[in-house]
Symmetry: C2
Subunit: 403 residues, 2 copies
Amino acid sequence: MTGYDRFFSNLASSMRASDIRELLKLVEKGDVISLAGGLPDPRSFPREAIAEIAGYVVKEYGEKALQYSPTRGVAFFLNAVRDFAKRHGIEVRDGDGLMATVGSQQGLYLIGRTLLDPGDIVVTEEPAYLGAIQAFRVAGARFLTVPIDGQGLRTDLLEERLRSLPEEEKKKLKIVYTVATCNNPSGTTLPLERRRHLLEIAEEFDLLIVEDDPYRFITFAESEATPIKSLDKAGRVIYMSSFSKILAPGLRLGWLAAPEPIVTKLELVKQSIDLHTPSLTQYIAAEALTRGVVDQHLPRIRRLYREKRDAMLAALEEYMPQGVKWTKPIGGFFVWTWFPANINSRQLLARAIEKGVAFVPGDAFYPNGGGENTARLNFSYPSPEEIREGVRRLAEALRDMLG
Amino acid sequence: MTGYDRFFSNLASSMRASDIRELLKLVEKGDVISLAGGLPDPRSFPREAIAEIAGYVVKEYGEKALQYSPTRGVAFFLNAVRDFAKRHGIEVRDGDGLMATVGSQQGLYLIGRTLLDPGDIVVTEEPAYLGAIQAFRVAGARFLTVPIDGQGLRTDLLEERLRSLPEEEKKKLKIVYTVATCNNPSGTTLPLERRRHLLEIAEEFDLLIVEDDPYRFITFAESEATPIKSLDKAGRVIYMSSFSKILAPGLRLGWLAAPEPIVTKLELVKQSIDLHTPSLTQYIAAEALTRGVVDQHLPRIRRLYREKRDAMLAALEEYMPQGVKWTKPIGGFFVWTWFPANINSRQLLARAIEKGVAFVPGDAFYPNGGGENTARLNFSYPSPEEIREGVRRLAEALRDMLG
């Protein structure tokens, strides 16, 4: 055969590998310090405990842990998650259903397929999480993006923009997607009053809020980051989280809580995608939750990432030239930087790689374009020494460009 | 909020829980013998070996087995699968890519999203695998179905039907989907000459063949069931298989081999769905393959299911009234039955449940309707004694209806 193009769907034909992703793949093989990735530090995995638990659940529950299981999830897992959520102030309501997903990414994809038709509008931060942009884009969504400041989504601007939207467009509005706590990519955390404002906006414009919340459990400061879900009295919030940052991403295990009629539909869609989330990984996480392994382990993870966050903020302070701004995350994995307006991050990346450091140019996180002078810096994976040296090299590349 | 209907996509709005599935869920809680399911016998899981391996891979490879991994799959797993395929006569070509999927179901879904636009035509057996019908239906596919006989797809009829198709419709033809070996639901195995014929037809009408092959490894007879993939010189076959029947379905681990340009697109689509298949389950399967656990274990699984298949065929022979026909599987999980033309299987099911036995009415496997007098009987899960008693009860219900 000469080619397969005639066989591809419109969706597949439109998809291309990201040039930045391909570039970064190459870079990560060399001795370049990468502030580009988004991986947890492997030292954060409670490896001995997981090894023991993995063997145990197969021996103890093998007949079920190795068998097909319900599309919605294993009862042992869903019950353990319900208790975990409660301990952490995430209010799962009586009318809510819980569901296991193959990572949070699958939750996003399911939401896209279940709620969005081509042309529907998703409201989100600018910059926004790339995985969500992808999942909603393959569903054919358009994006209404709202700038952030150091505290995240500008809900005042959101309200303005929604008010000025033509009526026909208002009908296309379906969801607000937000990572309100320790945002990826921006590292911002939305203050309580903006969370309340967001719920008011959802009520006025008849929107659902998708609260994607994987970083809640690794915040370093006492904060008022009450889950939007817990403030919601009307049943407008789909809450999603994950064990990727607090247990191990290799389990690919996420979960969501949403009003039962929504979960019922998500479940039907999931059935066609993979029948169900692996039983074994659900048993492992459920056992880890039940034994208290996850909760006991959290302080250690927080210390680990706090040290790295501190290293990055200190290095930015020390090395960055005037005119550069950055966020001050209370947790999570990322710091967002705004370079002077005349700096193009993709050009900066080329120079930075020569100097021996990589990052993700911020425009990748702008679904409607923009953000050419911004960047996402990761502090979860590199060591404090690498972070310090990486930021030093980046500042050097930047000074070169500023001339 | 009063309701969520306004938020659902057209896809979600169109989806309903299957009435038969819901009915069978209820039944399986009672003391009804179920010939309805499709579960492997838990005694087929090499539980001790998996327990040991699960602990081992976390200890030994934890840094990678618990970490994010490539969308296409973990190299250790893909290499082990390549060797396994080779040992079992499945020819992965030089220009092919391999990919890990969250069960074969995800392979089907990815193929649907990557190859099919609404209105495109999928050719398949009548009856056809329900999971494939679902996955292709959510992609908007139409089905051109071809009757089977005791040897599976009637390729002569397929050729006829394709020839008589209007030119406009021919352009909509994309794939032939087939479970050629120990078919689910029919238990048939396609003879070598029909496999060759299918490849000729694919060439003539410019089609891809999706060969879904989870039962290959549990055939009980020396057979000529050469993979269509291994007969294909042109690069027209997407080959899929799974560890659900030979290791454990709770891992939810499938794989596929296809020409590289197709795998490249499948990978891009998968990235938006779940980033990647769990690393841990891939490490477990890879280690089990590498140690020889899977291959050493196959003879035991074959004996287990052969005994059950024999029990079902003997019971059908003994109890079924004249006018009932059934297939004689050389392996797999299922026997297909044709009742006399005046018997409606859904009515029969109601009576059968009263007598204490359940099965799946065959019409569920006919995407274009039909098959009202047919049924799928499962022999993999119930014990030989249950199979015998279940078939006896079913025959009794049938005799009552025949009057």
